[in-house]
């Protein structure tokens, strides 16, 4: 076996050099690209318009609150903006009288990331302004400041978000994308390489199919694991990705996921005869897999069909757990999901062996048949 592994390494360096670099560089490139994409973490300086028709002090103070928020940049009405706040002409007058006043807020929510960010910031500004105003109103009618404050909002909600308190996109999304990048690099490279290998080393593969596959599995899994570690290190150093989990858990999950995806690639390559088809078929898995991983859209909000799909995709057992390990420090479902992934990987590996035997053996039978025909009709 050791001999086979060494042979595979030599083969990788001599024949599949491009495949090796692709497996290594695609995840690293994706990590750098996506890390830079979400580098800012949250949206700031979102352009909005303020139309202040009030010339009183209250209106000016209210408007100033928007200028003071880093989330917004106030632009004039001709510029591109994602929201408009209209302060009516009687804003100060009504507030000074102790009446309610309504402001118009129009938000462009076609991109919910922008719309949500605007809404959250406006609600915070308005709530803060209201709390102060309510307390002032009550003090002005003779309440004590303490009671006035309590009566303005008897029950308040103090929110605290654990694990990713800033809601940064890097901690939420980048890990999932790195895991996805790893499987993209693996599946789109190993599948076609296996198809080509069947043409080049047909006899060898026919004689020792399981040994050859096992050697490939070991070598490629090792490369992918090292690549993933490099990606994580880059993400942690450059993009400040949090690494709370223990190295053992992260490494075990990475090795298992890499082995499963390698088996998947080997399986595709063993059954198919055209390298391009090995990519085209894999596309059907790769493209939707990240959305069905359960790491973005939660499983609790999926219907039974989508839920079933998440359980047949290897990434469904890896992405959420990996993020839990990194961001939360532990993953409660890790063990169960690793067992499921191990079973899945074993099935892919067995299927790869069967596929190899069938495709190569099938060709062999045809060759024997042709040879036999030539013998009988010289």
């Amino acid at each position: 076996m050791w001999h086979e592994i060494m042979k595979e390494v030599i083969l990788l360096w001599s024949v599949h050099k491009k495949a090796f670099w692709m497996i290594v560089f695609v995840p690293i490139l994706y990590t750098l690209l996506f890390g830079s994409l979400f580098y800012e973490g949250s949206l700031t300086k979102v352009p909005i318009i303020i139309e202040n028709y009030d010339d009183g002090a209250q209106g000016r103070r209210f408007e100033q609150a928007f200028y003071d928020t880093p989330e917004f940049i106030i632009v004039d009405s001709t510029a591109v903006s994602y929201g408009t706040i209209i302060i009516p002409s009687d804003f100060s007058k009504k507030l000074d009288r102790g009446d309610s006043v309504s402001i118009e807020v129009v938000i462009d929510n076609t991109n919910t990331v922008i719309g949500g960010s605007i809404m959250k910031s406006i609600q915070t500004i308005v709530a803060t302004y209201n709390a102060g105003q309510e307390a002032m109103n009550r003090i002005s009618v003779g309440w004590t400041p303490q009671v006035a404050q309590a009566e303005a909002a008897p029950v308040v909600l103090s929110s605290r978000s654990l694990y990713n308190s800033t809601g940064g996109y890097n901690d939420f999304f980048l890990v999932v994308l790195i895991v996805h990048a790893l499987q993209i690099g693996t599946v789109f490279v190993i599948g076609p390489s296996m198809v080509l290998e069947k043409r080049r080393r047909r006899d060898k593969l026919l004689r020792h199919p399981w040994q050859c596959l096992a050697a490939k599995l070991v070598v490629y899994t090792a490369i992918e694991t090292v690549t993933f570690v490099v990606c994580l290190s880059l993400a942690a150093i450059i993009f400040k990705l949090v690494l709370h989990g223990n190295a053992g858990g992260i490494l075990s999950l990475t090795i298992l996921f890499s082995a499963t995806m390698t088996s998947f690639g080997l399986c595709a390559g063993s059954w198919l005869k055209d390298p391009v088809k090995a990519i085209t078929y894999a596309l059907f898995y790769i493209m939707p897999s990240v959305l069905f991983s359960g790491a973005i859209w939660p499983r609790t909000s999926m219907d039974s069909i989508s839920l079933a799909l998440t359980y047949i995709m290897p990434i469904g057992y890896a992405a959420d757990n990996m993020r839990d390990l990194l961001v939360r420090g532990f993953a409660p479902n890790l063990l169960v999901d690793m067992v499921a992934m191990l079973m899945m990987g074993s099935i892919f590996f067995l299927a790869a062996g069967c596929g190899l035997k069938r495709t190569l053996g099938g060709n062999d039978r045809v060759q024997h048949y042709k040879a036999g025909m030539e013998h009988s009709h010289p």
Partner: protein
């Protein structure tokens, strides 16, 4: 007539020799619409598992728990008297959020003291956390207003407006924060892009290697190929839009012709860019690998999900070079709000991209043709002994 014959030949190749590519080209967008549309069928995250830690266990705290229980977005998993139990539930991912009602809740309310309720959410999934906190704020806000009213009535306090500044909120485009509205159009276009790129690039690659372009005219062959592939991609997008609107009942508010023209411009640009890539690669495998590796970064960096106002300058620059940047947001805006201010400008940019791509392709092919002819002339001269 020659163009028609080339189209016919190309069609036969696509149907008989590249059947899988043909299926991807025509059906990928519809397939993704069904997959992703079904995934986000609930539009927003619902049934968020929450737990309440009720340290007081009074009738007032039970009222609040009832309010949490009846909120549409929540699924109340457990009510416990101590914090450790609910924190364990969160650690084991059984709940996504916890509401803690402190001791002395009713007493403090009766004494006109302000009470702070703690709301702890699991922030590891930002999307989930965002959806979890908004309904709780609403529940507590309503509860607070109710208590304020009771308190004012009981104490005979002067009537004051409970909320001095009210917001009259108008949300354009996606008022329900639906994830399907947000995602589906872009995913459909991205899927159509993959199909078109692979199909067109393979068509150019194979015929370029077989000198087909030189025998039948470079421009003529390219035009014929583009008519077929851009046409098929156009049909794929039409099927995708039909599926989105008819099956998933999503709105299409804008002018369909404007949206289709945008799609045409996009397909034209993408096909020509794929054509240039096809001329570069020496093997079919490397070509297809390059195209599939391009798909994910192109989608994420187009600004469709993470907007360009939140990007660093170099990333923004990269985003401007991707054709998807000029279609995805505009297409969604046309569909959801009816207008996209930069639509025609973006169409122009895509047409410029496509035309430049086409010219580069023609130039490279022509240059290779001249080089080949020169080489063959040289070899024939050499054979003759000159």
């Amino acid at each position: 007539m020659i163009v028609f014959n080339i189209i016919k030949r190309e069609w036969n190749i696509l149907i008989h020799e590249r059947t899988l590519v043909f299926i991807v080209l025509l059906c990928a967008s519809v397939a993704y619409v069904f997959l992703i549309g079904n995934l986000y069928n609930g539009h927003t995250v619902q049934h968020i598992p929450v737990a309440v830690c009720d340290m007081e266990q009074s009738s007032l705290s039970r009222d609040l728990i009832h309010d949490v229980e009846t909120a549409d977005q929540y699924e109340l998993v457990a009510v416990a008297g101590d914090e450790t139990t609910v924190m364990d539930l969160m650690d084991n991912k059984k709940v996504e959020a916890i509401l803690i009602i402190p001791q002395g809740f009713s007493k403090k309310l009766a004494q006109h003291e302000q009470i702070q309720l703690a709301f702890i959410s699991d922030g590891s999934n930002t999307l989930h956390q965002g959806y979890a906190s908004a309904p709780m704020q609403e529940v507590v806000g309503t509860f607070s207003a109710k208590q304020q009213m009771f308190s004012a009535a009981a104490g005979g306090a002067p009537q004051l407006p409970s909320v001095p500044v009210q917001m009259s909120l108008r949300i354009m485009g996606n008022p329900t924060q639906s994830y399907s509205f947000f995602y589906l159009y872009g995913v459909m276009i991205t899927a159509s892009q993959i199909g078109l790129m692979i199909a067109f690039a393979l068509a150019v690659y194979c015929d370029f290697r077989k000198y087909f372009f030189y025998h039948h005219g470079i421009v003529r062959t390219l035009v014929a190929k583009e008519i077929l592939y851009v046409g098929l991609s156009f049909i794929a997008v039409l099927l995708g839009i039909s599926a989105i609107v008819s099956v998933f009942h999503m709105p299409f508010e804008g002018n369909i012709w404007a949206a289709l023209f945008l799609c045409f411009s996009f397909s034209y640009a993408v096909a020509n860019l794929a054509g240039i890539v096809a001329l570069y690669f020496k093997t079919k495998l490397a070509l297809v690998q390059c195209l599939v590796f391009y798909a994910l970064p192109a989608f994420l960096m187009s600004g469709y999900i993470w907007p360009d106002i939140g990007m660093l300058a170099p990333v923004k620059l990269l985003s401007y070079m991707i054709p998807l940047h000029y279609i995805c947001m505009d297409f969604r805006a046309v569909a959801l709000t009816g207008t996209a201010p930069d639509l025609w400008f973006h169409c122009l940019v895509l047409h410029i991209m496509g035309t430049v791509g086409l010219l580069i392709m023609v130039f490279i092919m022509h240059w290779r043709k001249c080089r080949t002819e020169l080489l063959s002339n040289f070899l024939s001269l050499e054979k003759r002994g000159y």
